[in-house]
């Protein structure tokens, strides 16, 4: 590097390598051509110019008095872009150390690398260019000072925390230079696997060989029989989470095998804290020989020099984390929080090697770690090791594979993307742990942290639930984004907190259901024809009409045993039954467990555990009678109206008769009173049908109409004939289960449409509530654009008396009521449906609780939306 002011001697045009996602400082005096250079090599949005910011805050790009505000704005923009992982170029003179310092700090805060491109031109060139510009009138002394500033510390730029400094001398070199964006070392997004990620080996070579064999790798040996490589016939890649070395019996053997696999492209390896320390020690630095380092040093000392050199270089050159598979997979020795994925800085490396430590130590002298995984909310799967746990378990899309092989535990691998665990047992307890690590009967991992994936955070909820005045958030579903207004989220927060069952049970909340479009027949509000025509219009040819039971909606989650409940839901339970808003259905735990027991035995008798390969099952259905849950409502609301009518109307009839006897003309009024009394009697007949005595579980009936989910399965893709057949088998097995009558209908066949109409009339004439028309293909049936309504209810005219009032069939009342607006209700029904199928899908994929809770919470929030309750 020469520092003359003369143009550089002609050579090949310089290629400047710049980190793809970092910060780039253009450094040069006014008139050195920074803006022109930036425009040539970067996108306009990537370049943040101080002049432009000056203009934004003062309407004058040259107003030096606005510099303080202009730079505050520039720093804000730079910080935001870097936080979002965008390449950012600062076009300012940056000749003063103080100006650069602030920008370097912002880069560090965002854990990205900072580089500088110095455009070094003579004062003459700069002065000449500035003169050509009418908007710049600062004197030559300014340029002279800038150049003095620049030259005074040009040589020390790389000591300021700037990783790469490129100096371009003179206009020719500047215009000849090209930029090469380089990926970060940790960016291996182009590698898509499949991978076999292997936990902490710690010198356990024999176990590693067994595990690789178990995984299907073929081990390659050298002439003396030592394993020097392994290859999977299907081209899988092994990924070591680090800590190959120390403590165990054969660190050199492990290194030989791992290094061979890495050299041949069969494996990747991230650095563990033990490799880091071993490398330091091998390089002759003074380190405390503890935690099994002594074993490594002793074993390595027995190896030849060449191997020692290779091992040192290998351990020293390891990268602290990798981002793989398009960004969906991150491997780091001690895990990595989302903000650090793909970033580079000292603290990112430290996190990746040691975890989120507090600096304190526990009673065993081991560092206290913060439970970063519990709060992890990232999209990428994070796989790590470092802290021995009794069993590899998923926590919020992260998993720790260190199952303490060297301490006599197991050596564990994760197949990705299959998410299968493969492990082998340790052959010995090779090393005694500092802290007891496998404490029988104690399921809590001995990590010094309480892991509780069952705890939700306020920030896991759609925006606005925290009371911050917020228009609301949105939930992304497989069928589009569903908006959740902030006010609704607040209502849901209160109800969820005060009344809901443990959120671990809530894998689904039933969506509201829209009624069929208003009947064209003026004597009715609803009838089947309009529902069939809706589906026909959506291009759905086959529907199923299901009898609508009048009870209360109930989701039943039935576990085969406590083990299933503890694994998937809540320990120490056997299931639960909850309502449309997630409340416990039964106040009395005895009734709940009796209902669950009967459902459990029905599932057993029907052979569903084996058939669906599960040890729990979630059903959606209707629990009868209505009075079981709604007795208070029936008494206070419905029966009371009947009582008042039956007391007042006959008395009115009496005085009207007396008045008529006196010759007064009250005939019209008397006629209306008579009709009202008829209305009241018909009205009372309706709710009486949905009322019968129950005593605990005795008298209860449960009519399931959909099998929601089982272990690893979500049944929204099955058609309704399957759901009905399961319900029938359950009904055969248990008297409590009530089958649902149904009729499959071709919407394009008018004869079938007629028979649907007669079928419906038959149901409602004997006191039924009506029916629900569903697309036969199941809840995921798509129509012209997206999902169709999962069901439309067609309620009977008598039933509707308890909704619209005893007299609603009076022709003039009915004429008014027919003008009902269904748009809002239908929209809500679809939005809640999308949330419902989303939560089931997330649950089936084994996603963490907060991911399942998000759409469930969203559905509850939408239920608080004001909509005509009669629909």
């Amino acid at each position: 590097m020469t520092h003359s002011t003369e143009p550089a001697p002609a050579g090949p045009p310089p290629v400047l390598s710049i980190p793809e996602t970092g910060l780039v400082l253009l450094v040069g005096i006014s008139g050195s051509g920074k803006s022109t250079f930036a425009a040539q090599h970067f996108k306009p949005t990537q370049v943040i110019a101080s002049d432009y910011c000056r203009g934004l805050v003062s309407d004058d790009e040259n107003d030096q008095g606005a510099s303080t505000d202009a730079f505050a704005l520039l720093h804000y923009i730079v910080n935001t872009r870097l936080r979002r992982g965008l390449l950012t170029v600062v076009d300012a003179t940056n000749v003063q150390r103080k100006a650069r310092e602030q920008l370097v700090r912002i880069a560090k805060d965002n854990d990205v690398l900072c580089s500088a491109i110095v455009l070094d031109v003579t004062e003459t060139v700069a002065r000449h260019r500035n003169k050509a510009r009418t908007d710049r009138d600062f004197g030559d002394h300014v340029i002279a000072r800038q150049r003095r500033d620049l030259r005074s510390n040009l040589r020390r730029l790389d000591k300021e925390g700037i990783r790469k400094v490129h100096i371009l001398r003179g206009p020719e070199e500047i215009s000849a230079a090209t930029i090469a964006l380089e990926k970060s070392w940790n960016d291996k997004r182009h590698l898509t696997g499949p991978f076999d990620i292997i936990g902490d080996v710690h010198g356990c070579r024999a176990e590693l060989e067994s595990l690789l064999t178990e995984l299907g790798y073929r081990i390659e040996s050298d002439p003396s029989g030592r394993a020097v490589g392994a290859r999977h016939p299907e081209g899988r890649t092994a990924v070591f989470v680090g800590d190959l070395v120390d403590r165990g019996p054969d660190t050199p053997g492990v290194l030989r095998l791992a290094m061979g696999m890495i050299d041949s492209g069969d494996a990747l390896c991230v650095s563990g804290n033990h490799e880091q320390k071993l490398a330091r020690s091998l390089k002759g630095r003074k380190v405390r020989v503890s935690h099994g380092l002594a074993e490594s040093l002793e074993q390595l000392a027995a190896q030849d020099d060449d191997f020692q050199r290779r091992a040192t270089a290998f351990c020293d050159g390891l990268i602290s984390h990798y981002v793989l598979d398009g960004g969906d997979l991150v491997v780091a020795h001690a895990g990595l929080k989302e903000e650090y994925h793909g970033r580079s800085s000292g603290r990112v490396r430290s996190f990746a090697l040691y975890g989120d430590t507090t600096g304190e130590t526990d009673e065993y002298g081991l560092p206290v770690r913060l439970p970063w995984a519990e709060q992890y909310r990232g999209r990428a799967t994070v796989v790590y090791g470092h802290t021995p746990v009794p069993k590899a378990e998923w926590v919020n899309n992260t998993i720790c594979l260190d199952t303490g092989c060297v301490f006599g535990g197991r050596l564990t691998a994760l197949r990705y993307p299959e998410r299968e665990i493969v492990d082998v047992a340790a052959e010995h307890t090779w090393y005694e742990p500092t802290r007891p690590f496998l404490d029988p009967g104690d399921s809590a991992p001995a990590t010094g942290t309480v892991r509780d994936p069952g705890l939700l955070g306020i920030s896991d909820l759609p925006a606005g639930a925290d009371g911050a005045d917020h228009p609301g958030g949105a939930v992304e579903t497989a069928f589009g984004r569903v908006r959740v207004p902030g006010q609704n989220a607040l209502a849901a927060l209160e109800v969820m907190s005060r009344f809901a069952v443990d959120p671990r049970w809530l894998l689904y909340l039933p969506p509201t259901m829209a009624p069929a479009p208003t009947s064209a027949d003026p004597a009715l509000l609803e009838r089947p024809a309009e529902a069939l025509s809706y589906y026909r219009g959506e291009g759905v040819d086959r529907v199923v009409c299901q009898e609508k039971h009048m009870g209360s909606r109930a989701v039943a989650v039935v576990c085969r045993d406590e083990h299933a409940a503890a694994r998937r839901f809540v320990p120490g339970t056997l299931g639960t039954v909850y309502t449309r808003t997630g409340r416990p259905f039964f106040r009395d735990p005895g009734t709940e467990s009796a209902v669950l027991a009967e459902l459990r035995s029905a599932i057993t008798a029907a052979g569903l555990w084996a058939e669906l390969d599960t040890d729990w099952l979630a059903l959606d259905g209707e629990l009868l009678p209505w009075s079981a849950k709604a007795a208070g409502l029936i008494r206070d609301q419905y029966a009371s109206v009947g009582a008042a009518g039956r007391a007042a109307l006959p008395a009115a009839q009496g005085v009207l008769r007396a008045a008529a006897d006196r010759g007064l003309d009250v005939a019209a009024l008397a006629g209306r009173v008579d009709r009202r009394l008829d209305g009241i009697e018909a009205f009372s007949a309706v709710y009486r049908r949905y009322t019968w005595d129950t005593d605990g579980p005795a008298g209860l009936r449960y009519a399931p109409f959909m099998v929601l989910a089982a272990e690893g399965a979500d049944f929204s893709g099955r058609d309704h004939l399957w759901h009905m057949s399961v319900a029938e088998r359950l009904a055969e097995a248990a008297p409590m289960v009530l089958p649902t009558r149904y009729l499959a209908v071709d919407t394009t066949d008018l004869h079938e449409a007629d028979s649907a109409d007669s079928w419906w009339r038959g149901l409602v004439s004997t006191g039924g509530e009506g029916m629900v028309v569903k697309p036969l293909g199941g809840p995921l049936t798509k129509g012209r654009k997206n999902l169709v309504q999962p069901g439309l209810k067609v309620r009977g005219p008598e039933y509707l008396r308890i909704i619209y009032g005893p007299d609603y069939l009076d022709p003039e009342r009915l004429a008014t009521l027919r003008d009902r607006r269904l748009g809002r209700k239908s929209g809500l029904a679809l939005s809640e449906h999308k949330l419902g199928v989303e939560s089931l899908a997330r649950h089936a994929r084994g996603e963490p609780l907060w991911r399942v809770h998000e759409p469930v919470f969203g559905a509850l929030a939408l239920e608080s939306e004001p909509v005509d309750p009669r629909l």
């Binding site: 309480v450 509780d452 069952g454 705890l455 939700l456 955070g457 306020i458 920030s459 925290d466 006010q487 607040l490 209502a491 849901a492 927060l493 209160e494 109800v495 907190s497 443990d502 209360s552 809540v570 309502t579 808003t581 409340r583 849950k629 709604a630 208070g632 409502l633 029966a639 009371s640 009947g642 009582a643 008042a644 009518g645 039956r646 007391a647 007042a648 109307l649 008395a651 009115a652 005085v655 009207l656 006196r662 009250v666 009024l669 009372s684 007949a685 009486r688 005595d693 308890i802 909704i803 619209y804 009032g805 009342r813 008014t816 509850l860 239920e863 608080s864 004001p866 909509v867 309750p869």
Partner: protein
Amino acid sequence: MLLTISTTHQPATDLGYLLHKHPDRVQEFTQSHGTAHVFYPESHEHRCTAALLLEIDPQSLLRTRKSVSSPDFALAQYVNDRPFAASSLFAVALGDVFRTALKGRCTARPELPDRRLPLTLSLPAVPCRGGPEYARRLFEPLGWQVRTEPVPLDPGLPDWGDSRYVGLTLTGEHRLADALSHLYVLLPVLDGAKHYWVDDDEIEKLLRAGEGWLAGHPERAGITRRYLSRRNRLFRVAIARLAEVDDLDPGADDGGETPAITEEAPDKPPALAEQRAGAVLAALKAANARSVLDLGCGPGKLVGRLLDDPQFTQVTGVDVSQAAIQFAHDRLRVETMPAAQRSRLTLLTGSVVYRDDRFAGHDAAVLMEVIEHIDPSRLPAMEQVVFGRAAPRAVVVTTPNAEYNALYEGLDHDAMRHTDHRFEWDRARFESWAREVAATYGYQVRFLPVGHEDPQHGASTQMGVFHR
């Protein structure tokens, strides 16, 4: 919907003059919610009966609603007893149709209004919250002989017993104007239901109508309270809607406002709530807490007391109900608070069962009468959020002592002090819970009685003070 007024005054037909309604005609009066009809089923010299029949148009009840977000946009109003019951709506019609008679004016027979007449008033369906006994307590002091007829809830469901309605017959000698004003004021009191469509002006009118007799009525306080309790609760709309979705009474979840008993110690003041707040303050001071998190702050009573004390430099009130936070904000007059005080206060909507970074960084947290509102199955989540995560140096928890309930009159055995309480613990249960929490999260705990202390049953409130 129906009232008959009979008299045996001689000549009985004077009733027509008093009511300003001719006995031989059938008259109609348009009301805002329907049509009132007045006619005479009998009219003789010795006995005359007038009938007021109100036909309510259910659709008209709906038309008065202002928007879909008003609270009456609930299913309850489409199926309701207003067309049949003698409720506040009926009282309004009565006041309108018999306006002149209520004022005691009669131009044709000026001496009549001041005459006390033998009267029988009959109403077939009076909604009577508090039962027939309450009707007697309201009318008997005014000089009426009261007869009530129970109305069965549903003859088709005989086990369900009687409804809240009674057939009411009042007999006595009164000025007609007084008799009408008694009904006008007391029918809505008996009803006591929520009538969102009766606005505050109507209430004023009703109270004015009670002049002359309401002041001396032994049930005056109850009568007044029932009016005030009918104030609408607009802000609870969304919550009510979610209750309704579940076929529950939309008001059910307003449990926060309806204690089952007035929680007063037998030896009276200072009020238990005051003593509780005082004890919490003392514990916070003893812990030398400067920043305090009041979880479940409700309307902000404790928050206000904390702000009054300069020792507390940062006060954060949290409630799961946004309505409560809004109410606290208004009650504490946050908008007009001096800047120095305001800078010490933060009010947040948040939940103790959801982890929340905003809870961190406080010296002490208070759970004053909060844990008993949390389902036992959710307590572990609360413990983690408060003790595990927010982890202040001190946590003060108060909760009722169930043993003390025995000393509350009017509280049934096994009943709880509040409809929303999920449990009330005796001292042993509370202390074992607190010790377990303390052990799990590295705290020490000590216990203090709050309020009147009974030698056998202990204090009304129990308090645990956690330290780490």
